[in-house]
Subunit: 213 residues, 2 copies
Amino acid sequence: MIEPILTRRQRQRRQHEEVVEEILAIARRMMQAEGVAALNFNAIARQLGMQPPSLYTYFASKEAIYDELFRRGYLTFGQRMNQRPAATGSPVEQLRSAFLAYMEFGYENRDLFELMFQRPVPGFTPSAESMAVSLGQLAEAQRQLGAALAQAGVTLPVSLEEAGDLVIAMMYGVTAMHLANNPELPVGEGRFGRLADHAVDLFVTAWQLERVE
Amino acid sequence: MIEPILTRRQRQRRQHEEVVEEILAIARRMMQAEGVAALNFNAIARQLGMQPPSLYTYFASKEAIYDELFRRGYLTFGQRMNQRPAATGSPVEQLRSAFLAYMEFGYENRDLFELMFQRPVPGFTPSAESMAVSLGQLAEAQRQLGAALAQAGVTLPVSLEEAGDLVIAMMYGVTAMHLANNPELPVGEGRFGRLADHAVDLFVTAWQLERVE
DNA sequence: AATTTTACCTAATATCATTAGTAAAAACAA
DNA sequence: TTGTTTTTACTAATGATATTAGGTAAAATT
């Protein structure tokens, strides 16, 4: 007798998860097309050939869909920031690659970027678990930036935490302005997208980060 | 016979405008309490002791309320930025006061700040007129920053427009992060609110703006 | 074979923005 | 003053939306 790879339960669960994935994919397509807040629970059901109440088999509420996307968004974001090619280069290189990774995440995931950093949804408050994921990833980004700067061996006019936060604020500012003004242009183009390198240079010059090149 | 100060028409109009003002005030209170997207047309009517359809006498739609707040928000923002005390000081002073004015506008008008810069409302697109006001005020801010920098007489590594945009992106980034993290703390306090001066110093140092002090 | 679980359904509810149609009152013109 | 227009409000109704209640049939589990 051949051992099935999956129990029936597991097979059912897999199919369940497949539907969950499809729901999330549809949700993202909707958010990208109409804006994050325009997510329509009933319309997702219709696209799946279901009656709206049947969707509650997969998600407990519309907010639960937002929450799952929020959580996954931060996981993806964290992976992107941590697994940069240049995560081991010189401080300047690290700063540059962090900036690029941040902006590219925003460009490629406009919907998630808005959901994660701009809270565009009326009653949506991330669940405790999702919030923990979010804070963890952000703290890691801040820590990494601080570490890169520490490695530079220069004396900054601010603490490492403040330095990391200044970089984060600038990354966010440039990216948000870029997405608001030229959402269709890739990073590096457009009024604000073009500013990425200049923004990095600002930190490099002000903090004299080249000294250890 | 005593000449009335106002014609009946004018008196009626004044009462009309008073109701309009009250509607906007209620709307802002709601947005501040529950978030920009939580504005509830019916609830405004109820607070005024009206039936919801009667509100259409004063605003053509819910979006029209958003639009008026958006327009006024940019007007107030422009006034604040232009009428800074230090709008005539040294370049460094101007940069500092611009940063402060921007952040304080955000802190005192969180609801408008979100509405104006973050577009947190599903279908809301500013009317052509409001959009013109908005773009005009932003262009003026950029121009003013550029002029202040030009006055410094230094050679920047970027164009004046790019320099203005970098400052705008940084102001936005720090303010948005501050409002997201410590909305209750005034400018100057909190993890990001504290960074205002450091952010200004970044530009001053990188661009050597003190030379003309 | 008996049971539990899962995935779906229909019907109904509550909340919203908004439209249609109307009535009273105020403003105005004659 | 009288007749007309404009303004302000109403009730009733509609359509979209998220969600709940309650049920059914098939599949999975015991």
